[in-house]
């Protein structure tokens, strides 16, 4: 089983070039952000000195502290809410027999490919009628709804991997359905729930269109991507170094989380994708 050395090298080389290309655009704005404002290197060379001043400027002018907090609030609420309802509904689909099972499952499947663009207009007027525009709820409630399809199907598969005997043992011990769910199914599926949570966190954190449409007026609840978009689109802040610093500020938290949980991220995206 000999593989030629040249083939080994070629494969490795390809991966190295690919990794460089994947990182270059982001690294170049990190560099730009560290470049003293006004000095333009054109990305061709290193700046004469490095500065953190652009970060300070972007932070104070763009209100990114509040924006990152808002992103966190929304993402955590969506992850908790969507996980909870999925844990419950997935349990029903996985372990119970009831009329309308397949129809309901089919209705859920539609949500997997439904583009947000298709619902965003009525969603705006629905939330306006509820008086929820420009509040956290305007971002949390619809995103729980758009996470339900993936979440329920995900949990249904996860529970299917729970050995039946465990559940049956619990019910012989006199545990009802509800207790069995929390004592047996949820603990055994904890890793799957954690991966689901990571995945939903990523998608919610990065969502842009919903924020743009549903909370345009209230800077106090605007999420980081929206704040960044407004900041970069505003001619008052046309200094590219400051804009770059703002982009790095917004990207950093998710990169740190990714660095810690990258395996869960990747398996989550792969499994989540394959589920579709």
């Amino acid at each position: 089983m000999r593989i030629r050395r040249s083939e080994q090298l070629l494969g490795l080389l390809l991966l190295i070039v690919g990794a460089l290309l994947a990182l270059l655009p982001f690294l170049s704005i990190v560099l730009l952000a560290l470049t003293p404002s006004g000095e333009r290197t054109g990305g061709g060379g290193l700046p004469s000195s490095l500065t953190l001043e652009n970060f300070a400027t972007a932070w104070t002018r763009g209100g990114f502290g509040q924006a990152l907090w808002s992103s966190l609030v929304v993402a955590v609420a969506v992850v908790l809410g969507a996980s909870l309802v999925s844990v419950l509904a997935g349990y029903a689909f996985s372990t119970m027999r009831f009329p309308g099972r397949f129809v309901l499952l089919g209705i859920l499947l539609v949500g997997l490919v439904m583009p947000y663009e298709g619902i965003i207009v009525p969603l705006y007027y629905l939330l306006e009628g509820m008086g929820l525009l420009n509040t956290y709820w305007a971002l949390i409630l619809p995103q729980i709804a758009t996470s339900v399809s993936l979440g329920v199907l995900w949990m249904r598969t996860a529970y299917a991997n729970v050995p039946r005997s465990l559940g049956e043992a619990a019910s012989i011990d006199g545990a009802g359905r509800w207790a069995t769910l929390w004592r047996v199914y949820v603990p055994v599926s904890a890793p799957a729930i954690a991966t689901l949570g990571t995945l939903l966190f990523l998608y919610t954190w990065n969502e842009f269109l919903m924020a743009l449409v549903l909370v345009p007026q209230n800077p106090d609840v605007q999420t980081a991507p929206l704040a960044l978009s407004f900041f970069a689109g505003s001619t008052r802040n046309f200094d590219p170094s400051v804009t770059a610093a703002a982009a790095v500020i917004v990207a950093l938290p998710i990169l740190v989380v990714y660095a810690i949980f990258q395996r869960r991220f990747i398996t989550g995206v792969v499994a989540g994708a394959v589920k579709e």
């Binding site: 690919g18 990182l23 029903a92 629905l126 842009f208």
Partner: protein, 320 residues
Amino acid sequence: MTTLSPPRPGPARATGSAPRRRPLLRRYDWDAYLYLVPAFAFYLVFLVRPVVESIWIALFDWDGITASEWVGFDNFADVLADPQIWQATLHSLVFVVFYALLPTALALVFVGAIARIRVRGLAAFRALLFVPYILSTVVVAISWRWIFAETGPLNTALRAIGLDGLTRTWLGDFTTALPSVGIIGTWVMFGLAFVLFVSGLQNIPAEQFEAARLDGAGPVREFFAVTLPALRGEIQVALVLMITAALRNFDIVWNTTAGGPGTSTTVPSYFIYREAFVTHQVGRASAIAVVLTLLIFAIVGAVMWLTRDRDAAAPRGGTR
């Protein structure tokens, strides 16, 4: 949505194979609905209802504020007769090439190159290549705005190697704006395709490669004989995800070119946003949204049919 499911550890489920005899009504678990109510409450109110309402609003001439006027299917006729919408749809199809076909092809090349070799640190490479996909699209857009800027790294690099004639403001130029935005999509989506294919690769039994090699297959033949067929499911999934992303593309266009210069990078979702929330033609915006949704469903359906598992005879469903 596909026949592909992750290999499940643990015992296979035995639903239905050992029916327990119970009285008729008790064969159903009626309390199941209680477990379903929370999820479906969200789903019906914030997803299904808006879908239906989209169609409903599309039947009106409405500015979003004052009273509306019933116009039947006029908005749809208007949208379908609008050359600007057709142009935007054409741009979306170009994005399908950049967001779906190109990343798939590139990722297959990568996977083909590493299928036979043992790469030390593959996990690390996988993590690095996946970074573009986890970044917020706004961050991605701002990064690439800088790359493509008049004084940005791309032009600097071109000048450095004496290609001054090629420099331009890439996103502000009629001929290069569309492919430039497309390249951003390729960059984002490549990581997703790669990660999916590598995971598929790891599910291919080593014996298949060995058997191919015993037959004297070189890397190219091995790729077409073993790797490619084995990745059919992953390719299908990748295409569905990336084509959907290409057709929906709003974030990156909005934050790089906003449709310009002229109308050279407009996409349907750009018009949905603009007409619904800026120029206040809400009925028309909804009509575009409905058409876009149908288009996405149609194309996704077509892709799934074209890449279906032709060998799998049994229809799925059954006990799932």
